[in-house]
Symmetry: C3
Subunit: 171 residues, 3 copies
Amino acid sequence: MARILLITGGARSGKSTFAEDRAAAYAPPWAYLATAEARDTEMTARIRLHQTRRGPDWHTHEDGTALVETLRRTEDGFGVRLVDCLTLWLSRLMEEDADIAAETGVLCDYLRGTKTPVILVGNEVGLGIVPANALARAFRDEAGRLNQAVAAVADEVVFMVAGLPMTVKPA
Amino acid sequence: MARILLITGGARSGKSTFAEDRAAAYAPPWAYLATAEARDTEMTARIRLHQTRRGPDWHTHEDGTALVETLRRTEDGFGVRLVDCLTLWLSRLMEEDADIAAETGVLCDYLRGTKTPVILVGNEVGLGIVPANALARAFRDEAGRLNQAVAAVADEVVFMVAGLPMTVKPA
Amino acid sequence: MARILLITGGARSGKSTFAEDRAAAYAPPWAYLATAEARDTEMTARIRLHQTRRGPDWHTHEDGTALVETLRRTEDGFGVRLVDCLTLWLSRLMEEDADIAAETGVLCDYLRGTKTPVILVGNEVGLGIVPANALARAFRDEAGRLNQAVAAVADEVVFMVAGLPMTVKPA
């Protein structure tokens, strides 16, 4: 079983479901590091629904952009940590005008050194037409760089297509 | 030879050509289930051109969203049926405000049970930046779900890149 | 080592870095055929920066859309030629209102016959939602056709995901 697994792919390609399936191979309990923000009642309801579906072996952590702090806090007591997802984390970092390269560096340093497994979900957003919007172009550049950096420290990388994993970096 | 084959990929990645090549391995005649709608003279001309190119061993069926009915009607007398493509079918179902989950269920039940092979062409539309348009976002979510559902019942799934098939689910 | 290698993938998927790494396996000097146009000071600075980073074993050629002429001129004296990238070349051809099918044919004929290796970088732009803009739709169709044509004459094709190569056509 991989210590660091990156699951990437397009929207609705089955990344989260596959991530949860892979997590189930580790000893419970499992930590779920949610990077989505509950901005309205609909979003809050959706997040709660997902939480209920995952069941009691999952412990949800919602700490906004403080991802590495949460990873440090969950080193002990969990069989695996699932980060869902890197792209929303990036999106919030950009909103906060954070230093993306520095944050990526801190995350990758942490991943290199941790002994407790981590599964990270990413998103491929750079396979369409160049966006007309400058912010969207910047975002897809940053998302591509982040995925490359995490893939470089991962022990296993898969690319999801239609709910099925294609091996990018074998475990 | 796969009983149910899903061919997915981006625009102009060679999906239809590969689908026709794979169909040629089955005994003729072959049924072509077109989901594109001839909305104008240009589109009509383009559809006729493709039909002529495919040749007399292909029998074209154009029944709009009545895909499963056409699949049932072509159970006998054809070596294989080619559905080109799932994404246009979905697009028309959404226009008709149909129950997509229910329609997907009926299609997948049919595919699980049929004895006459079916090749289905899908489209990957979720690998770009999140669309600003709400309908486009809903469409890419539905397309992703549809591809996952069909891939789950398929015996073989390929992802086309630059005219070449990459194996997602081996036959 | 492949005579003709096509490296395709999304934005910031590590195509250029991988291309330069693969080029390093051939005897120097290496020819870098840049298709990007220095339209402003920022772009010029960026191009110079890349040039400096690549180092003295790389000889940069910037000849706009005259790609095949430059390939012919670099047949002798170079271990390998790197074309970075096909999509910018296409973009400039479309601006010049060139005959894309004819230009593609000339390039592919050249690639079929040359003895000096060529590495070509392409872009996958057809995996997002259908663009609302007609020119964008035409561009993604042409980019898909160009990638298919080059992939057909290539000895090896890879698809980059998160900085890692997936084999599309094995060498």
